[in-house]
Symmetry: C2
Subunit: 453 residues, 2 copies
């Protein structure tokens, strides 16, 4: 019998601490839980609706994009081939189409040279956070609860985050001012503030127009950049749509993160960042400034070289086929999300409103769009309770405290309705109602033996 | 006339120092130079040969991969669609096909679960370097001259590099031992050593079998991991092909970086890392270890979430269509590279051997494969000389000192012949000969007025 040589062994304590980050480890556990209860109705997946996907579309998008290169750009065959197959421009090659989309959908004119096409919005966050944190004094502010991908990007980029309160109307501007002042008193440099102005993930909060303007004024006064992440505004009902922060930005204070994950498709991993801020190389205004986008591109050349050409071509074709309008491209999906939001709010009303003793302890917000509703429960909504909910009642949700880095949200759950049917939503909320009844029963009998906490 | 509001201004000194890294800034300048002299014959591009690319192949690869999911894996339509369009498995979905390719081409059996599919080999380097550097004591050894992408990955990941000498036979093992000892005396922890064992970029060096075995023994004795990067061995002539380090690795000391950039195509941005090292979470062998691959996947979930599904599907289809053999898939390219290598060496011989006073001062190495030859010149081969060479003689090459982080190689140039025809190679080397004659003339007339340095 051959003796198997002993492998080398590494210790977790010898690896960078970000591999063991509690928030991300929790998300991994949540995914595993969803895998263990495949029959449960899942309000935890933040994935886009997939009912309209068709694999045949991909080849058509490639053909459309090829036609664009040949006919509209007028590239000779050899350069078309090079565009598809070779290492390419670090900032990407669909920047003109993205600029056109922003013009069509948002009335926003941006210099295509200020756009860096990235491997999903996630890479854009990493590049930006890596660039903005020069030394241990630099700190990034973020409206909290926070998108878990932004927390992860900050961990891997080594960027310290500082929480700013968020309420139904988005980031709390008074708290932002307080946090900036507090950071400065501690000798820190607040560099930028991260916000999701429309239907934030996970809170569903949306900022009013006056607050958007006030945020930009505050940022200008305090010389802090604004990082705008806005993947959901495209799903807003037409009339109620507010201008993006970047569309209100007169002083190039806003760095805008864009995503095609919720519009075209998530697997493509194509996003972008608009970084039109001039960067001077010696602080003197005489030196010709380059754009922050070009510095981010240098970092990108060290992380992924360039965004996959095939993925860019597919997204490029998708944009062209839809007249460079994401609003037009996602009309069917937007209808599904509006229908599902209504079904979620209706079900919450019909299950919880008539429940005896309610509304004490159970409440929820009512966003006007997006993919998420937050419910507050009369008992701790933690990982143990989630497992109990999945195993005993067949319903999954996401504990909110993960999005607060474990400092708040202990009684809250995020309900994501994007991939469900209205029937599943109704059934899922009914199951959630049974969990609440079950827990109320336990609270009436103190010391119940199998309480999950 | 509307007054344009003054934009916010950032200063380069407020951004992370990696955006201003000298090696990468130089590479950007070199690319610009190539753009300014489009008619020059360029020995500087390290791009793969592009003569066999056909845009129609992409859709066929997608169809092939779809057939594999449906027929071989047996996925129902809904899951096929999800694989193409949704967020996916962080470690990727072509890991089984990659494992099959390694079995077919290298006789290497790897657990597919130890493979992380990455956004090109570049992302794999970043993830790995980020994971291995826990604190300021950790240091990575690297055979030098060094692939500029590895230098870049180290900069962005914050991993300090320490150079180890390399000669015609690859990494100098005595120097490696010396550097490990020196690092330990300084209180540092050498974690891993980076090598390209076959036809290294930029040196063209190849390690003999005995040296490969000795490297693994040294690494085991010193408890240092080996990072193997091997994109060129597939282009080795059949009989002379040596086993990869990973194929000789009995103790799981080797972390193998894989790339499809030089075989399938660079734009796809699909690579991978094999990281089958067990990681214990408390140092005790009783705790069930997880693979290093799973920790790298956690970092990947913070950098790009997953590798583009479309890009993976295209590479998957390419592998399937070629019986999972890269040797078979790249037979035509390998023939081109062998032909071009021969043309380069022949031209160097015919231009420089008969030159009066030669071989004094001009010499070159003679790799048996790969994409690069290194020439040593009797004058400084720096960026100024390169511009002079391009403007006056119409020939571009890459100054080698960039790959030594500016510590050596001042008289050397890398000649990359991968994208040229034999006719262009002959003409280019003749032009290089004229540059040498020109510089010899200047040395004979001291104080010549327009000397480029």
């Amino acid at each position: 019998m051959a003796v198997q040589p002993a492998p080398i062994r590494l210790s977790l304590t010898d690896l960078h601490e970000s591999v063991d980050d509690p928030a991300l480890t929790s998300m991994t556990l949540l995914n595993e839980l969803a895998g263990r209860y495949p029959e449960a109705i899942s309000f935890s997946a933040g994935r886009p609706f997939e009912g309209f996907y068709d694999v045949d579309d991909l080849s058509r998008h490639l053909t459309t994009f090829r036609g664009y290169l040949e006919d509209e750009i007028g590239l000779p065959m050899e350069q078309v081939r090079r565009t598809f197959f070779q290492y390419g421009r670090t900032k990407g090659f669909i920047h003109e189409l993205i600029a056109r989309q922003l013009e069509v959908d948002e009335g926003l004119t941006v210099d295509p040279e200020s756009i860096v096409v990235t491997t999903g919005c996630q890479e854009a966050m990493v590049l930006l956070l890596r660039a903005l944190v020069r030394d241990e004094r630099d700190v990034i502010l973020a409206a909290t609860p926070n998108y878990v991908g932004f927390i992860g990007a900050a961990r891997v980029a080594g960027a310290p985050l500082r929480s700013v309160r968020e309420d139904e109307g988005g980031i709390d501007l008074e708290d932002l001012e307080r946090q900036i002042a507090a950071a400065r008193r501690e000798g820190l440099r607040p560099r930028a503030c991260y916000v999701v102005p429309d239907f934030a993930n996970p809170s569903g909060a949306t900022m009013a127009l006056a607050d958007r303007i006030a945020l930009l004024e505050l940022a200008r006064r305090e010389q802090v950049l604004v990082i705008e992440d806005n993947p959901y505004s495209v799903f807003c009902a037409g009339d109620s749509r507010l201008p993006m922060l970047k569309a209100l930005d007169e002083h190039r204070q806003v760095i805008h993160l864009g995503s095609f994950a919720k519009s075209a498709f998530a697997g493509a991993r194509v996003g972008y960042v608009i970084a039109d801020q001039p960067v001077t190389s010696d602080g003197a205004s005489s030196a010709a400034p380059v754009l922050l986008a070009d510095h981010l591109a240098k970092l990108k050349s060290m992380v992924t070289l360039n965004t996959s050409t095939v993925a860019q071509a597919v997204i490029g074709g998708y944009l062209i086929e839809n007249g460079c309008s994401l609003t037009r491209a996602t009309a069917r999906e937007a209808e599904v999300y509006r229908r599902n939001l209504a079904a979620t709010l209706d079900s919450l009303n019909s299950v919880f409103a008539p429940m005896p003793g309610m509304p004490h302890g159970v409440s929820w917000n009512a966003p006007t769009g997006g993919m998420f509703v937050v419910i507050t429960l009369p008992f701790p909504a933690d990982d143990d309770m989630l497992e109990y909910s999945a195993s005993k009642f067949g319903v999954l949700w996401t504990p909110m405290y993960h999005f607060y880095a474990g400092t708040s949200g202990f009684h809250q759950a995020r309900l994501s309705f994007s991939v469900l049917t209205p029937e599943q939503i109704t059934l899922g909320i009914e199951r959630l109602g049974k969990l609440v009844q079950d827990q109320r029963g336990k609270r009436l009998t103190p010391g119940a033996p199998d309480s999950p906490r």
